[in-house]
């Protein structure tokens, strides 16, 4: 009788490539990841960037200092105001201008509002990425209130171009304080609901807990910043390390979780929203009244030298590095974008996880692709 034997050595599994993106619902834009998969397990990730690269750094070399600012809106469009502020602060630092107190306070409030708006959008998208589609609309409802506040004062909803070297474009709208004061209790009321809807959900907890672990050492070595680093227990909030604008006058705490997994990063952002509300609350009632523009020349020329300004955007540590040779255009501008460095962390974290986890990890890293590509 013929014997049929199964030789397991003959059974081979084959790794295969999967192009995730540039058009893919989970990449939030045009990020392309070339995945090497074994079944559904991710073996290797290779990012392919540049689908929305607009050479902002090169463009800056041909623009005047005032004209750089509106370009930075288009980098990390969700924290547009903070990007503006970073460039404005770098220029002010170079020119040694002391801006009015009012400007500092306005910038800080706007920055924190932007941060909340960005985190709200992230929360909605986070829910969508793990399959809870309703979160998106709830987050957008609240974000819309911030957008309205922005539009009323800055004239634009997303790309505000609000900071200028030495001040801000417009004065606050008379309704500003009223609207912000309406918004604060509203958000305080809905965030516990969000926690019930998504954070507490057993499926969500199982999806998040222990997934995408990033150790503290790795987080530092990979250059992670912002909520990603703080979820791994790294003290990395620039608002605390090097307070800018009016942040040295307010009392707030840096949110740090030490678990280093998806849930920790999630919680950092959720708590940061409430902490931002605290900051706004401390400032909103006593905005000083000493003008919105320091004296600057019509044509700004920076002295020869190198200037680095770091700010904390919603994504992390944004560095604006301006090299000036004394002319009206910068010699070199480098935007050290948080998303670009955080992408390193994805490559490290995603390995060995399933595709579904990779999507969740990407979501907790909160990419904005124009911020990565610049």
């Amino acid at each position: 009788m013929e014997q049929v034997t199964l030789n397991t050595a003959d059974l081979k599994s084959q790794e295969y490539f999967l192009n995730m993106g540039p058009q893919h619902p989970a990449t939030h834009g045009v990020l392309r990841l070339i995945l090497t998969l074994d079944g559904e397990v991710v073996k290797n990730i290779e990012p392919d960037l540049g689908y929305i690269h607009r050479s902002i750094e090169k463009q800056c070399e041909y623009e005047g200092y005032k004209q750089i600012i509106h370009l930075t809106d288009r980098m990390d469009y969700l924290s547009a105001h903070i990007n503006n502020e970073a460039v404005a602060l770098a220029i002010e630092q170079a020119l040694e201008i002391e801006v009015p107190e009012r400007v500092k306070v306005i910038r800080t409030i706007m920055g924190e509002l932007t941060r909340i708006a960005s985190h709200l959008l992230w929360w909605g998208v986070m829910g969508m990425d793990v399959g809870a589609l309703t979160t998106f609309m709830y987050a957008f409802r609240d974000r819309e209130m911030i957008n309205d506040i922005m539009e009323e004062t800055c004239g634009a909803r997303l790309t505000m171009s609000y900071s200028t070297p030495g001040g801000v474009m417009f004065d606050l709208h008379p309704n500003f304080q009223k609207r912000v004061k309406e918004f604060i209790p509203h958000l305080r009321k809905v965030i516990p609901k969000y926690d019930e809807l998504l954070t507490g959900n057993v499926i969500f907890q199982k999806r998040m807990k222990g997934v995408g672990y990033l150790s503290k050492e790795d987080a530092i070595s990979l250059g992670a910043s912002g909520p990603v680093a703080r979820g791994s227990g790294v003290h990395s909030d620039i608002r605390k390390i090097k307070p800018y604008s009016a942040l040295d006058k307010v009392d707030f705490k840096e949110i740090i979780y030490t678990e280093g997994d998806n849930l920790a990063r999630y919680k950092v952002r959720m708590d940061e929203m409430l902490e931002s509300l605290n900051i706004i609350e401390q400032l909103i009632d006593n905005i000083p009244d000493d003008g919105i523009q320091a004296k600057t020349k019509a044509l700004i020329k920076l002295p020869k030298g190198e200037f680095l300004q770091r700010v904390e955007t919603a994504r992390g540590d944004l560095g604006v590095y301006i090299v000036s040779d004394g002319k009206k255009n910068p010699y070199r501008v480098k935007f050290r974008s948080p998303g670009f460095s955080n992408l390193n962390a994805l490559i490290e974290m995603g390995k060995g996880h399933l595709i579904a986890d990779l999507v969740a990890i990407m979501s907790t890293l909160d990419f904005v692709v124009p911020d990565i590509d610049r």
């Binding site: 290779e46 990012p47 392919d48 960037l49 540049g50 690269h53 050479s55 750094e57 090169k58 463009q59 041909y62 050492e217 790795d218 530092i220 070595s221 990979l222 250059g223 992670a224 790294v234 003290h235 990395s236 390390i241 090097k242 002295p303 020869k304 030298g305 190198e306 200037f307 680095l308 770091r310 540590d317 560095g319 590095y321 090299v323 070199r332 480098k334 050290r336 670009f340 460095s341 992408l343 390193n344 490559i347 490290e348 590509d373």
Partner: protein, 151 residues
């Protein structure tokens, strides 16, 4: 706590050829030659500079360069390391990927835009631009054929 003097004295002891300057910058600038580059990076990492804040490709006109912003997460002390490369045709540097993992993408970006080849890097391919792109657009002598940026 680390400050400018301590680090300057320490490094000057190990690398006699280093140049230090604090002119026109908020941080201590260390200008290192290509040969000492990797050794200096290792020394700095051991000194506690564990956070590579950014890696900036530079075109100084005559020479190409890389500027590193390094920070100690312990006390948030920052220094700047600069390396200049005279050779514009085949600029080469050893990779920092094994010292600071974040250098992985930063070096690929610099390779892409400035054409500095990082020896020993695991994936030395173009990152932002397509594979068939010619030239290195962030260099000062790069001409924009489509007149898109330079008007």
């Amino acid at each position: 706590m680390m400050n400018t003097e301590t680090i300057q004295n320490k490094l000057a002891g190990i690398f006699p050829e280093l140049q230090f300057s604090e002119e026109a910058s908020q941080f201590l600038n260390i200008i290192v030659s290509k040969d000492d580059y990797i050794k200096l990076a290792e020394t700095l990492k051991n000194e506690g500079f564990d956070y590579l804040f950014s890696m900036t490709g530079m075109d100084w006109g005559k020479e190409l360069g890389v500027t590193l912003h390094l920070e100690r997460t312990e006390d948030r002390f920052m220094i700047v390391v600069k390396v200049m490369l005279e050779d514009r045709e085949n600029p080469e540097l050893p990779t920092l990927e094994n010292i600071w993992k974040t250098a992985h993408l930063h070096e690929r970006e610099i390779y892409d835009l400035f054409g500095i080849n990082f020896k020993g890097h695991s994936v030395m391919k173009r990152l932002l631009l397509s594979e068939d792109w010619e030239g290195y657009p962030m260099r000062k002598d790069w001409m924009d054929p489509s007149k898109m940026i330079i008007r």
